[in-house]
Structures are given as C-alpha cells and as structure tokens.
Amino acid sequence: MVKGGLSVPLALLMTLTVFAGSAQLAALPLMTAHAPIWVVWATAFCVNLRFVVFSAQWRPFFLRFPLAQRVAFGYFSGDLTYVLFMRRHQEPRPGSGQMEYFAGATAINWLSWQLPSVAGILLVDAIPAHWGLGFAGVLALLGLALSLLSDRATALAATVAGAAAIAAFALPFKLNIVVAIAAAVCIGLMVDGGGDAGRRGRDTLLRLLQRRQGQAAGGAGEAA
C-alpha cells in the first residue's frame, strides 16, 4: 500500500477499516492510477459480491441477535471464518457453542490478517516486492476454494468459473468475477438440477433451433 503511494497513516487506516484483503488488492492499483473514486468503489463492490452470498448463509445463524450485533458479525466474517464455520455447523443450534466458535475463528482470522498487514506497512522497504510474498494471499484463497469442492457439480462449476474469469478478464471493474459467478451458478444448476434440468436445457435448445430453422425456411419461401 505504501509502495502504491499511500502515506503510512492512511495505509494503516485502510487496513484497519477495510477488512477485506481481495478488495484492497483490487482497489490499490486503481487508486495509484488515479482512477475516479466511483470506479474504485465499483470494483471493490464486485470483488466483495461473494460476501453478499455468504451473508445469506450466515442469516439463520445470526437472526436471533439485534441489528447492530448482526452487522458487526457480518463485518468481521471473512472467507476463512465462513468456510470453516459452514463445514462444521450445518444448521443453527443456539447454546451449542456455535457463536463461541464463530468468535474464536473471527478473532484469530482478524489478528492473523491485521498483524502481518501492519508489519508489512511498517517494514515496506525491508522486503523486496519481487520476492512475491503477496502470492501467499492467493494461495490462502486457493485453499479455501479447494475446501468448498464437494462433488462433481462443484468441481465443474469451479472450472467454469475459473475459465470465465480469465476469458472475461478485460471487462472493467473486475466484472469478470460477476460473469464467472453467473456462469458457474448456471452450470451448477444444470448438472445437479433435480435430475432433469440437463434434459430440459437440451429440449429448450432444440426447440430454439427448430424455430430458427422454421424461420429460415419461411424467410426463404418468402424470398422465392
């Protein structure tokens, strides 16, 4: 961040308030390139869209708490907390230590993100950028993604998402992530879709094709 032109106090403020690593990574190059502020915000929003989905799944667990607490829980729940928690707890059971588990995971996650971040900001000149230590963050997200793979449908969805994200990379505002989510959800619903979604999809395509051919034949007839 400091390498990107932010002063040390601003960089500290950013890491302490914007508790979202991937959004920071996406926003910083734009900020140093003097992109308009709304572009920075739009990009961060797209990168953070996955948390909107996560929040839907946190809902049943947090609903019995007052609004301020719910929002605080949401704010502190990162990728890692989400994956670990959801793997362990399938449905809400008050009083069974779920919230304690959440608090512990969140505290560890927060500290292990903030301490190295602050260290990095203060030690910026001690570690050369070409070592590529930033790749550790990518590897952490890779591990999280792998831990969400559970069957063939999810594996296929992930493959499609990766390919779509690369193919659509040139889109502005990191919209390639939105494209990838849409593609993966479609594929996922098609392959797991209650047994006959694949057949339904094929039927729809065939119907469209026939109509197209019918139109082509009709058009040819008129021309003649």
């Binding site: 308030t17 920071q24 929040s55 729940s77 997200l141």
Partner: protein, 109 residues
C-alpha cells in the same frame, strides 16, 4: 490521489465492506429463499473465490501466460497437492510459498 481523496475512498471502501458482508443481515424479518436460488447459492462462493484466484495464477498483465517457466503454476500445484493430502490451509500456503521462492531464487522464474 490527494490525502483527502484517499480518505474519502477508504471510508467508502469500509462502507462497502460492511454493506456486502452484512447484506442479508440487515432485515430482521423472515426471508424465504426459493429452492432454486438456494441451490444456486451453493456455487456462488466457490465461483467467486475461483474467479479471484485463477487470473492471479494463470495471467500476467492481462494475458494468459504462454510459458511453462512460471513459478506460480508449480506453487499452486504444490499447494493444491498439500491441501488434498493434509486438508490444512496453513500448510497449503507454506508449501506453495516454499515452491514459489525456491523456483524464483534457484531458477530465476
């Protein structure tokens, strides 16, 4: 960006973090998601993570990499192998970084 602009940008980013993270937590009323939406949501987090990670591993400056001499590929493979062997995130990061740094410093990739 001036300090004031940076400050506004950062405040906005913090607000975005709160809004996205708590999106479905603001309303206290019952919210029933259709079955199809629920099934679709199963794939969205995985897709988002993959979409963030894949370009970071396989692209350089907006282009698909066209060489095998890229340390990131082998670092990611090593990390994935570790994950399937041991299922730990920390080991995944460390094994991947070990391969990355070894290839960077020994072979200059």
């Amino acid at each position: 960006m001036s300090a004031a602009e940076s400050l506004i940008t950062i405040a906005g980013l913090a607000a975005i973090t709160i809004v996205t993270r708590s999106f479905f937590l603001f309303s206290g009323r019952e919210l029933v998601l259709p079955e199809r939406v629920k099934r679709g949501l199963r794939y969205a987090p995985l897709a988002a993570l993959t979409a963030v990670v894949a370009p970071e591993i396989l692209m350089t400056q907006g282009h698909l990499i066209d060489t095998w001499k890229d340390a990131r590929i082998y670092a990611a493979l090593a990390a994935a192998a570790w994950f399937f062997w041991r299922r730990g995130i920390l080991g995944t990061i460390l094994s991947g970084m070990a391969v990355l740094l070894a290839l960077k410093f020994c072979l200059g990739w």
